[in-house]
């Protein structure tokens, strides 16, 4: 267990402190959200209609930004050998990387989500749910994204490949996340969509580390 904690600390340090990946994603997210009223017009009615959907697409795209470096850096400089020979199995290495990706990337994005929502004219009552949905959805984005990053290891132009592999898998959280927000705004039951969102994310945490570990083994061998 101490090996896992050691690795998690390193991953957080690499994701947070160096290169500013996390804040960069937040900046990207708020910039996209700020562009939406310029594109569709500032009519509050229309913004309210497209707001939740656009915000979710922006969130999904923002989580892609820091994925390319997640495994590729370790692969290029030989650190992945060290990680593969460590005290914990590669599945736990993948779990630590996904968790760090969520804490360092998903958490700041979840904080930025209500701010972006305000810019899109979302009513205040909706903001807590926006935060919660971005936080839970971000967990799924981080783990599915990490799996994509592992699958793209060693490929030329891996960043684009990750996006192509991962974006179709982002469909369920986008549907359920935006669906929960729309249902809440319309006064309907939003809990079922939210529960599906949470189920997707938890399934991603449980399953993707196995796929990521297999992909890493394949890339190293």
């Amino acid at each position: 267990m101490s090996g896992f904690v050691t690795l998690l600390k390193r991953e957080l340090d690499l994701a947070w402190g160096r290169g500013g990946g996390a804040l960069l994603a937040c900046g990207f997210y708020t910039c996209v959200a700020a562009l939406v009223p310029l594109a569709v017009g500032s009519d509050p009615e229309r913004l309210r209609a497209v707001g939740p959907g656009v915000a979710w697409i922006a969130l999904a795209l923002s989580t892609l930004l820091s994925l390319e470096r997640l495994y590729e850096r370790d692969f290029e400089d030989g650190a992945l050998d060290l990680l593969a020979l460590g005290p914990v199995p590669l599945e736990l290495v993948a779990l630590a990387k996904g968790l760090a990706q969520w804490i360092a990337g998903g958490l700041p994005l979840a904080v930025a989500a209500p701010i972006a929502a305000v810019m899109l004219g979302t009513p205040q009552a909706l903001l807590p749910l926006v935060f919660a949905a971005a936080l839970i959805g971000g967990l799924g984005f981080a783990f599915v994204g990490s799996m994509g990053a592992a699958l793209a290891l060693g490929a030329k132009r891996g960043g684009v490949l990750i996006a192509v592999v991962v974006l179709p898998l982002f469909a369920p959280p986008v549907i359920f996340g935006a669906g929960a927000l729309e249902a809440f705004a319309a006064g309907m039951t939003w809990t079922s969509a939210f529960a599906f969102l949470a189920a997707y994310s938890l399934a991603a945490v449980a399953l993707t580390p196995f796929a990521a570990a297999a992909a890493v083994r394949n890339a190293l061998g």
């Binding site: 050691t6 390193r10 400089d77 030989g78 020979l85």
Partner: protein, 209 residues
């Protein structure tokens, strides 16, 4: 520096080992053995499979045929267990993060391989890393980075060292110094298998690919 607890590697063997990369066979039918206290210099032309053999022993590459075996004082060891706790693989890349300081990287690599604080201090002393610790690793020279990467071998004592061109970036003084550290490692019952082009600075047997 005591790692000869029961269950640790005292003998490494390869039996009719064959390794292929990218559909091309590198070597086949390779038999070898390394015993405790012995250094083996792995030689061969560029592309003859020295690195692949080391990675195969470490379990990163699956052999096409044959097997790698680890044995302790009291009989054969389970390969996965022997690998995760019994060997260091030092590739020709150092695995250091350019934006982290030497201190952070040394402490991570040491902790990841199971070293405690005393081990880290021993490594800092043995490899004279003190003046480098505050620097980001991208500011170090190739030789300094190699010394830093060698740190985990000292910090966390493990019997089997698999080294890939360990001396290449080092200057004459440090080659000698690393030779002395290797000799000390062999004296405590360690095993060394090193891919080299220049002779190892310790008494060694040659294994040509």
């Amino acid at each position: 520096m005591e790692f000869r607890r029961p269950g640790m590697i005292a003998r490494l063997t390869g039996e009719s080992l064959a390794v292929a990369r990218g559909g091309r066979s590198l070597f086949a039918g390779l038999d070898f053995a390394v015993a405790a206290g012995e250094a083996v210099a792995l030689t061969g032309a560029n592309g003859s499979g020295k690195t692949s053999l080391l990675r195969c022993i470490a379990g990163l590459i699956r052999p096409e045929a044959g097997s790698v075996g680890f044995a302790g004082d009291s009989g054969p060891l389970e390969a996965e267990e022997a690998r995760s706790g019994g060997l260091h693989l030092l590739g020709h890349q150092d695995g250091l993060k350019p934006t982290r300081t030497a201190d952070e990287e040394l402490r991570f690599q040491a902790a990841w391989t199971g070293a405690d604080n005393a081990g880290v201090e021993a490594a800092i002393d043995a490899l004279e890393l003190k003046p480098l610790l505050k620097l980001e690793t991208r500011k170090l020279s190739a030789g300094q980075r190699r010394r830093l990467a060698l740190g985990r071998l000292i910090a966390s004592p493990r019997p089997l060292w698999l080294l890939d061109e360990p001396l290449a970036p080092l200057d004459a003084r440090w080659r000698e110094r690393v030779g002395a550290l290797t000799a000390a490692h062999l004296k405590t019952g360690g095993l060394v298998l090193a891919a080299v082009h220049d002779p190892l600075p310790v008494k060694s047997r040659e294994l040509a690919l």
